[in-house]
Amino acid sequence: MPQVMDADRMSRALTRIAHEILERNRGTSDLALVGIRTRGVPLARRIARSLREINHEEIPTGSLDITLYRDDLMRHAVGPQPVVRRTEIPFSIDDQRILLVDDVLYTGRTIRSALDALIDFGRPRSIQLIVLVDRGHRELPIKADYVGKNLPTSLKQSVQVRLQEIDGEDEVLLDDPAPAGGASC
């Protein structure tokens, strides 16, 4: 499976995103990170760490499970029913600038679910979207504010982000032709 991003490039991309966040938001006041389960969560923690190293300030970080907000619960031709995991947002998101983090941006449906879920927790001042990989093929009018890598793909291909915390290794793989049900969203 061809590798399109190795650990080094991933780490540089995340550091660059941290700098872009600081530049665009003029500091870290009122910022909070929310990672989308599963792989958005470690990515959010890494970005929080980068921000701390650059700016010496702690950014509140939470995790969001969007399973209960999906629009495909009853369409099980797609695959097995997803497991519901815990959402942990241990801070108020009211009037905060929320940085939503996911690994791959594809159809945009996950992000649509995440926006719905977030809004049930309060009224943030703004929501910005961070993704490690944007592979195109949007089905909804959603776009990322910070992108680690733009990766042109065909619909047949599958993009797999692997992270140290979960998979034991940092890399992004581009698989084609895709076996049924690749880990992309």
Binding site: L68, H76, R85, T87, D120
Partner: protein, 309 residues
């Protein structure tokens, strides 16, 4: 993923399925702490709560769970239904089904009633208690509460004390706890001890002191006056003296014992008020956990619906 389309009893569940339900319930608990206690998972689904027997806690718990998942709910109590006008159970359900509900949560005084309907109906059936047979969601919420406190089931001593004869809570709990590796001790007066208990690998005793000694969990069951057509106990006062859970008896259990009761409690009959309200009691936690567990069951079964039967 659950194997069956319905939840009729613990008997049909495998340990991995029980763990999946408990894990899913754990994720659901957080929803109760949100400013908006609602997720859209079951939006557009219709759930009918069909209660042929009175119930407050279970019916409310299911209703809250359904509403938190955004399902449309309809609760029917027996007194208002046409059963009193002579309609058969099957006709009642067929008429309900003609309005195409997705799921039916059902309580009935006859053991096996939900099983009959599951065979004859298209809807997903959830058993909310059938006669003296099973009450699977109660056993699941009890298991959830035990797991939360003890972090395991393996090797736990669980004492179940009370009116065992008439208890579907006992029958569901015994099966679940056996599957998960706990050792169940059952205690009741000889008149209320079901003969089949030994087949389930339960240690039966008529001494509450023996049952609760070094117990990790004590589960008290209610004396079910409404099911007693005969003289099973001489008096509630004598029953309390011989089988009631008092602070002195709690002291015989493990220092970190938890006291459970599926409700409704008869204070001064099976349980002393000081125990019911005391530091070891997790009785109100059970009620809270009930909502999360029922949300988990509804969500997991909703995913099954599309499956051909």
């Amino acid at each position: 993923m659950l194997k069956s389309r319905h939840l009729l009893g613990i008997a049909d569940l495998e340990p991995a399925e029980i763990t999946l339900i408990l894990d899913t319930a754990e994720a659901m608990t957080e929803i109760a702490a949100r400013p908006i206690k609602k997720v859209p998972a079951l939006r557009g689904r219709t759930v009918v709560n069909l209660f042929f027997e009175p119930s407050t806690r279970t019916r409310m718990s299911f209703e809250v769970a359904e509403k938190r998942l955004s399902a449309d709910t309809l609760s029917i109590a027996v007194a208002q239904s046409s059963v009193t006008k002579g309609e058969t159970l099957l006709d009642t359900i067929r008429n309900l089904e003609a309005m195409s509900p997705d799921m039916i949560v059902m309580r009935h005084a006859s053991s096996g009633a939900p099983h009959l309907l599951a065979r004859l109906c298209r809807s997903v059936i959830i058993n909310a208690g059938d006669g003296m047979h099973e009450h699977p969601t109660q056993a699941l919420l009890d298991a959830y509460t035990i797991r939360e406190h003890k972090k395991r089931f393996d090797g736990l001593k669980v004492a179940i004390v009370g009116d065992l004869m008439h208890s579907r809570v006992l029958r569901s709990n015994v099966q679940l706890l056996n599957k998960m590796g706990a050792q169940v001790w059952a205690c009741a007066p000889a008149t209320l001890m079901p003969a089949e208990l030994a087949r389930f690998g339960v240690r039966a005793t008529t001494s509450i002191d023996e049952a609760v000694a070094d117990a990790d969990v004590i589960m008290m069951l209610r004396i079910q006056h409404e099911r007693m057509h005969g003289h099973f106990i001489p008096s509630t006062r004598e029953y309390f003296t011989l089988f009631g859970l008092t602070p002195a008896r709690v002291a015989r259990a493990k220092p970190d014992v938890i006291i459970m009761h599926p409700g409704p409690m008869n204070r001064g009959v099976e349980i002393d008020s000081d125990v019911a309200d005391g530091p070891y009691s997790v009785i109100l936690e059970q009620v809270t956990n009930g909502v999360a567990v029922r949300m988990a069951v509804l969500y997991l079964l909703a995913g099954q619906e599309a499956a051909p039967d």
